[in-house]
Each structure stands twice: as structure tokens, then as C-alpha cells.
Amino acid sequence: MNWTWFHRLASPPHVYALAGRLTPWFAWPAALLIAGGLWGGLVLAPPDYQQGDGFRIIYVHAPSAWMSLMVYMTMAVAAAIGLIWRMKVAHAVAASCAPIGASFTVAALVTGSLWGRPMWGTYWEWDPRLTSELILLFLYLGYMGLRSGLEDTQRADRASAVLAVVGVVNVPIIHYSVTWWNSLHQAPSVMRFDRPAMPAAMLVPLLMMLLGFTLLFVALLLTRLRGEVLTRERAASWIREALSP
């Protein structure tokens, strides 16, 4: 098998150009899917018989919550690749993931809390999923705090990679212990989204939003990655050629 394409991924100029070329291929489908999903979810889908129009926040909440976990996984995998094969670009990918993931986590928390106001009658309920989401936010903040605390880029890369890998081992343990904790202290919420029973008019926009958010993440990641590569390689000579028109 020909592995040149893989080895070229270790070269910053190649990655910089490749990320630039790929970005529109993800950004445009993301924009279309999100626009279509929002139209379908906010306008076409019928109101829920129990929650009325309040359920519509799921079209932003569920994809954000899904992305918050997926970005963490991506970050940990990239960090592990960087740690094992000492690939600088992989570390740059992990570093670019963190702020995006933290933003998705904040979006999931804010929308979850807004949804809770009409449904639970309070902005914050110690629901296991919201609590896990909050802990995930602290994991992201810790990762970014460690990165910014270490001045040497190489050390910051490798130390934060160890933290990301440790975190990914812990995420399921934290999730299940929080669920266990919650089942002791609180009756399960009456209203749960019953995904399989969801009619197609509600489900299809949700799936479009999920796919749209995933593509949006890739587009954002590629853009951030370009910035990250530029910052890291600011002393290199290829940058002058790449940036001069």
C-alpha cells in the first residue's frame, strides 16, 4: 500500500494548503444542512403534544451535546497520535479542537438550561446529562488551562496530550458514576425524549442538524488548524510563499 499521503500529513505546508482546499467542501454542506434542518425543525415539524413548541430547542441542544463528546474524542485521538508518532500536526489538531469543543459544550448547557425553564420550572436541574455536560466543560477548561500554562509549545503539546488521554479514560467512568448518583437522589425526569417513537417530520430535521453540526465542526477545525499551523510555523520560510498572493 502507498503511504505517501499519510506521511505528507506530517508536513505543515502540505496540511496548511490541504486544509484550505478542503474547508469549503465541509462548510457549504454544513450551511445547507443546518439551514434545512432549522427550517424543518422550527417551521415544518408539528409541535409536541406534551411539550408544545418547547421541544424545538432539541434541534440545537442535541447536536451540540453530541458534538461536545465527539470533539473530545477527536481531540483525544489526535493527541494520542501526536504522542505515539510524535506528529506535530496531530498536536495542532488536538489544540484546535479544544476551544470548539468547549463552545459546543457551553451551547449544550445553555440550551439545556433554557429548555429546563418551561419543562422543569427551573433553569438548572441536577439532571445527570446536564451534570455530565458541566463536568465535560471543566475537562475542556483544564485542558486549555494546562496548554496556556506551559509556555514551551512542545511541552504544552505533549503534557496536554497525556491529559486528554487520561480524560478520555475517565469520561465514561464520570458519566456512569453521575448517572448512578442521580438515580439515588432523584426520581427520573418524567419527560424523556423517546427517540424511536419520534415521527419522521421531527426526526429528519434532527438528523440533518446532527450531520450539519458534524460537518460544521470539521470546517471549523480545518480553519482553526490553519491558524494554529501558521502560529507554530511563524519562523518558517514557506509561510512567506504561502501568504504572498
Binding site: 471543566f138 483544564g142 464520570i174 458514576s177
Partner: protein, 241 residues
């Protein structure tokens, strides 16, 4: 050298041609010896634990019925913070005087040496905390019958805390103001320990069977013993590069 005891361990290890376990044992003894020469520092986490416990009756209410309800949460929050407080010193002196570099260069398994350091941290903070926790619990209105359960849960849970903490301490090595960052790194990872520990304590105080959460705490401790020294050793190597 001004402090002969400090850089001695690897040399002694070489002189005796010890195995990995032997080197870890020597590192453990060295940490304990150094700690007992500075007894004042040894008492600090315990005093901290006691004073955090004291805050709650003063801040909330002196009624024993209310305090008894809060006791598990208070005990475990205080234990978590006390363990965290002692973490800052886990590697600091060794990083300053070069002992950590000697460890890394000694040819012995750094993972085993990291395990020894965590074991010393547990013997110096976790175990004393476990012995002191019943006193605090009694003062918060827990019945005397709960003592065994409280000692067991704090003793087992603090093993996991020491090991998780060693990763955070190794990652923040050499940073000037690492205290807040160390808490931000360590506390989210320690939450399962807090949850199961508080639950075991709560059941012990209520006089019910507390074995299930205690076993889960044990599982976390075993997981910590297996994986945390590896991660801590990797983090120490990164800090020395």
C-alpha cells in the same frame, strides 16, 4: 552536596543493584524519611481537614440532625481538598533539587518510582485522613457504629485520590502558580471517588450495608494503581525534556 540525603536514593539503588520493586521501596522510604523530618508540614493537611469541617457547623447550623445529613458531603469535600492541598508538594522539592531527573536517569522503571511516590503521598495524607475522618464525623453527629465504614471508605477512596492527583501534579510540574490549575485538572477526574465515597459514608451513618459503593471505590483505586503511575511517569518525562 549540601543535602546528602536528597540525591542519594539512585546511587544507593545502583550500589545495591536493586530490582525495580527494590528501587520503588527505597524511594518510598526516602519520601517517608524526608516527611518525618519536617513534621510541621505533615500536620498541615490534617489541620486543614479539621478546619474545613469546622466551617460547616458555623456556617449552616449547630443542630446535629441537620449536620448528620450533611456529614458525608462535608467529610468528602474536606478530604478531597486536603488531599489536593498536599499534592502541590508531591513533586515540587524533588523537581527543584534534581531528584526527579536522577529517577528518570536511574534506569529503573519510572512507573514503579511514581507508584512509590503516590504510595508515600497516601501514607502521609490519605491514611491519617482516614483515621481522623471518624472524629470529624462524630462531631457532626454520626453514630459510633459508623466508624468502621467511614474509616474504610476514606482509606480506600484516598488511594484513588492520591493516584489521580499524581497525574495532575506531574503535568503541572515547574509551573509557577499551579495551585488553581492543579485543582481544575484534578477535581473533575476525582468526582467519581467523591460520589461513591460520600454514598458509602452516608450508608454507614444510616446504619445500612455500605459494601456496594465501597467495592466501587475499590475498583477505582485498582484502576488508579494500574494506570495512573504510567500517566504520571509519562508526564514527568515530558516535563524533563
Amino acid at each position: 552536596m549540601s543535602a546528602p540525603g536528597v540525591a542519594l536514593a539512585p546511587e544507593r539503588a545502583a550500589a545495591l543493584a536493586v530490582s525495580g520493586a527494590g528501587a520503588a521501596w527505597l524511594a518510598l522510604l526516602r519520601d517517608l524519611t524526608l516527611a518525618f523530618r519536617r513534621r510541621g508540614q505533615l500536620v498541615q493537611p490534617l489541620a486543614f481537614f479539621a478546619i474545613v469541617t469546622l466551617l460547616f457547623p458555623l456556617a449552616v447550623s449547630p443542630e446535629l440532625t441537620r449536620l448528620r445529613e450533611m456529614a458525608p458531603g462535608v467529610l468528602w469535600t474536606a478530604a478531597l481538598l486536603a488531599s489536593l492541598l498536599a499534592l502541590e508538594f508531591l513533586f515540587r522539592d524533588d523537581a527543584y533539587d534534581g531528584t526527579l531527573e536522577q529517577y528518570a536517569l536511574s534506569g529503573q522503571s519510572l512507573t514503579a518510582l511514581m507508584f512509590a511516590k503516590s504510595a508515600a503521598h497516601w501514607l502521609l495524607t490519605g491514611l491519617p485522613l482516614a483515621l481522623m475522618a471518624p472524629l470529624a464525623a462524630l462531631s457532626l453527629g454520626a453514630p459510633a457504629a459508623a466508624v468502621a465504614g467511614i474509616v474504610a471508605s476514606v482509606a480506600v477512596g484516598s488511594v484513588a485520590l492520591s493516584l489521580i492527583g499524581s497525574i495532575g501534579a506531574a503535568l503541572t510540574l515547574g509551573m509557577k502558580r499551579s495551585g488553581a490549575l492543579l485543582s481544575l485538572l484534578t477535581l473533575p477526574l476525582s468526582l467519581p471517588v467523591l460520589i461513591f465515597g460520600a454514598r458509602a459514608t452516608q450508608l454507614a451513618i444510616a446504619g445500612e450495608a455500605y459494601l456496594a459503593p465501597l467495592e466501587l471505590l475499590g475498583a477505582l483505586a485498582v484502576l488508579g494503581v494500574t494506570l495512573a503511575p504510567l500517566a504520571a511517569a509519562a508526564a514527568v518525562r515530558i516535563s524533563l525534556e
